[in-house]
């Protein structure tokens, strides 16, 4: 994209790439991005903080985004979310004590006909009941480590 505008157009793809490598946007990535685009570290941080899929701190290798907006609420999201928090021993936005799972309640994921829905590392899971969540949790635990949020 940068070839069409100025260098800053490369900033978000660059940060997405860095996050795929390191798990989050490290201080080094911020400095590199600033040098690449000719803006300050502070400006880069302000941009990182704006976007919910860019992380300023380390996160688990499993990131669970559970939708909490109206259609999912009508489909029983509150009960599911309580269950997930209890199972992982976290509050909204926290990472489990073993560092494996980061849990975030998010806004509408555009899968409202299959409520409640959630994403695990940006892969959709639909009509998730507490029982289904427990089953998914077992399969995720058995998975090898990979990039939590693939940037491609």
């Amino acid at each position: 994209m940068a070839e069409h505008g100025d260098a800053q157009a490369a900033l978000i793809p660059f940060l997405q790439y860095c996050q795929e490598q390191d798990g989050y946007v490290t201080q080094q990535a911020v400095s590199d991005a600033a040098a690449l685009t000719g803006i300050t570290d502070g400006e880069v941080e302000s941009i990182v903080s704006f976007y919910s899929l860019l992380f300023q701190h380390p996160v688990g290798k499993h990131i669970i985004h559970a939708c909490r907006t109206l259609s999912c609420m009508l489909g029983g999201a509150d009960r599911l979310h309580e269950h997930i928090r209890r199972r992982l021993g976290v509050r909204n936005g926290e990472t489990s004590a073993d560092g494996e799972f980061t849990y975030q309640e998010v806004e509408c994921l555009a899968a409202c006909d299959k409520a409640p829905c959630l994403q695990h590392n940006l892969q959709f899971h639909y009509n998730v009941t507490p029982e289904e969540f427990d089953r998914l949790l077992e399969t995720w635990r058995a998975q090898p480590a990979g990039a939590a949020l693939p940037a491609e």
Binding site: G5, Q8, Y51, S52, L70, S71, L74, A110, A115, Q123
Partner: protein, 430 residues
């Protein structure tokens, strides 16, 4: 029962429309071949203008007119596709991206040809990882088949498509916030004017079109503007995908003729309400729209009929709520959405959203007061119409519509010191 012959969703669920051969068999690329051979850009714009196609992203602005605003000053032009769908209750672009990416690509190339755009940028919501992968595969296949790239079908016209993946922000669906985001900045809406037609991406003339809008273009060129304009009300015509969710038997995306009565969509397409329930409220046009009620079921689903009911077609997210749903809680959920998604530039939106959310939380937790109700009834005067972009103006419409319709339900949360729908439970979010 539903008899409308699908246009945009024809073959979806039956054919693998990400495959070039299957898409061609389904009628795909006929318009592109015809246009590049026989049509001038001007004649395409004339055809789209005559079709009365209105933008499917939410605002409903006439597409041909939008294209016509581009200044003829020789500067390079951009076509940006808005695939950042995140309006509560809306999931049609998500489906079109994954199920018919080649239809979108054909619409993009046709539109770029019509407005003589030098560059096409598709902004795909960051959460749509699977959709992004499907689109990239379809793009490679289309490029290989000669529908994207240099000298398309020997016409001398060249167009390529760049994809920008979003990084998580509802506001980037607002067109000027989207341009900021593509430029590598915080997705904060710009002050208008200047409009994107004059100063858009990288300061150049730019058109931003929604996925579903672009998907309509091939069909308008294949079957003609008159055919398109004959579907539904003349000022608001065409096929329209409505995303139905909430408390219905068969939630899903349904392609309807514009103007279909809301009750027919609910009953004939979505299978009606759950057994034993009665209808309480419907949000007909995404999280930003005011509710309609049981007596409005004859209302046509189109831009003008819904506007006459003080609500809107918006994005086509049709969320159904029955008599078991608490309107304070439904409002709280939606206001929390706008509070969370506010970019923070405008004080009424940033502070107002938080304020209204806190009040609704208090009411739902049984800690509300008459003073809270008074604020809910009066805050609109300073909260709405005082912001740079429509996000701030989207906080109040649903809340106000149900507050006016069910004032006793809101008052009961104060007198009962709790939620009448769930007395055992004190609603406290994590």
């Amino acid at each position: 029962m539903a008899t409308f012959e699908p246009v945009l969703t024809k073959g979806v669920g039956q054919l693998d429309l990400t495959d070039v051969a299957a898409y061609r068999k389904n009628g795909g690329f006929v318009a592109l071949e015809k246009a590049l051979k026989d049509m001038t850009p001007e004649s395409i714009i004339a055809e789209v203008t005559a079709s009365n196609l209105r933008g499917r992203g939410g605002a409903g602005f006439p597409t041909g007119k939008k294209w016509g605003f581009l200044p003829k000053d020789g500067r390079p032009r951009y076509l940006v596709c808005n695939c950042d769908e995140a309006e509560p209750g809306t999931f049609k672009d998500h489906m079109l991206l994954e199920q018919t990416p080649l239809q979108l690509i054909e619409g993009l190339i046709l539109s770029a040809y019509a407005i003589n755009a030098a560059h096409i940028v598709v902004y795909i919501r960051g959460e749509f990882l699977e959709g992004y992968r499907i689109f990239m595969r379809a793009l490679s296949a289309a490029r290989e088949a000669g529908y994207v790239g240099d000298n398309l079908l020997g016409s001398g016209y060249s167009a390529d498509i760049l994809v920008h993946r979003g990084a998580g922000a509802y506001i980037c669906g607002e067109e000027t916030a989207m341009l900021e985001s593509i430029e590598g900045k915080r997705g904060e809406p710009r002050l208008k004017p200047p409009f994107p037609a004059n100063a858009g991406l990288f300061g150049m003339p730019t058109v931003v079109n929604n996925v579903e809008t672009l998907c309509c273009i091939p069909h308008i060129l294949t079957r003609g503007a008159a055919w398109f304009a004959s579907i539904g009300p003349p000022k608001s015509p065409g096929p329209k995908i409505i995303s139905v969710s909430g408390q219905v038997q068969k939630p899903g995306n349904y392609e309807i003729p514009m103007g279909l009565p809301a009750g027919e969509l609910l009953q004939d397409y979505a299978g009606g309400l759950l057994p034993g329930r009665t209808l309480k409220a419907i949000q007909p046009g995404g999280g930003s729209s005011a509710a309609i009620f049981a007596e409005d079921l004859h209302t046509g689903i189109d831009y003008d009929s819904l506007a006459a009911k003080q609500t809107m077609l918006g994005s086509g997210g049709f969320v159904v709520m029955d008599d078991t749903t608490c309107m304070v809680r439904a409002s709280m959920t939606l206001v929390r959405f706008f509070e969370y998604e506010s970019c923070g530039q405008c004080t009424p939106c940033r502070e107002g959203g938080q304020w209204v959310h806190r009040i609704l939380r208090r009411l739902e937790a049984g800690e509300g007061s008459d003073a809270d109700l008074l604020v809910l009834n009066t805050i609109n005067d300073t909260l709405t119409g005082t912001n740079l972009c429509p996000l701030g103006d989207s906080i109040m419409p649903f809340l106000l519509s149900v507050l006016r319709r069910f004032p006793q339900e809101f008052a009961e949360h104060v007198t009962l010191a709790g939620c009448p729908f769930d007395p055992a439970r004190r609603m406290v979010a994590a």
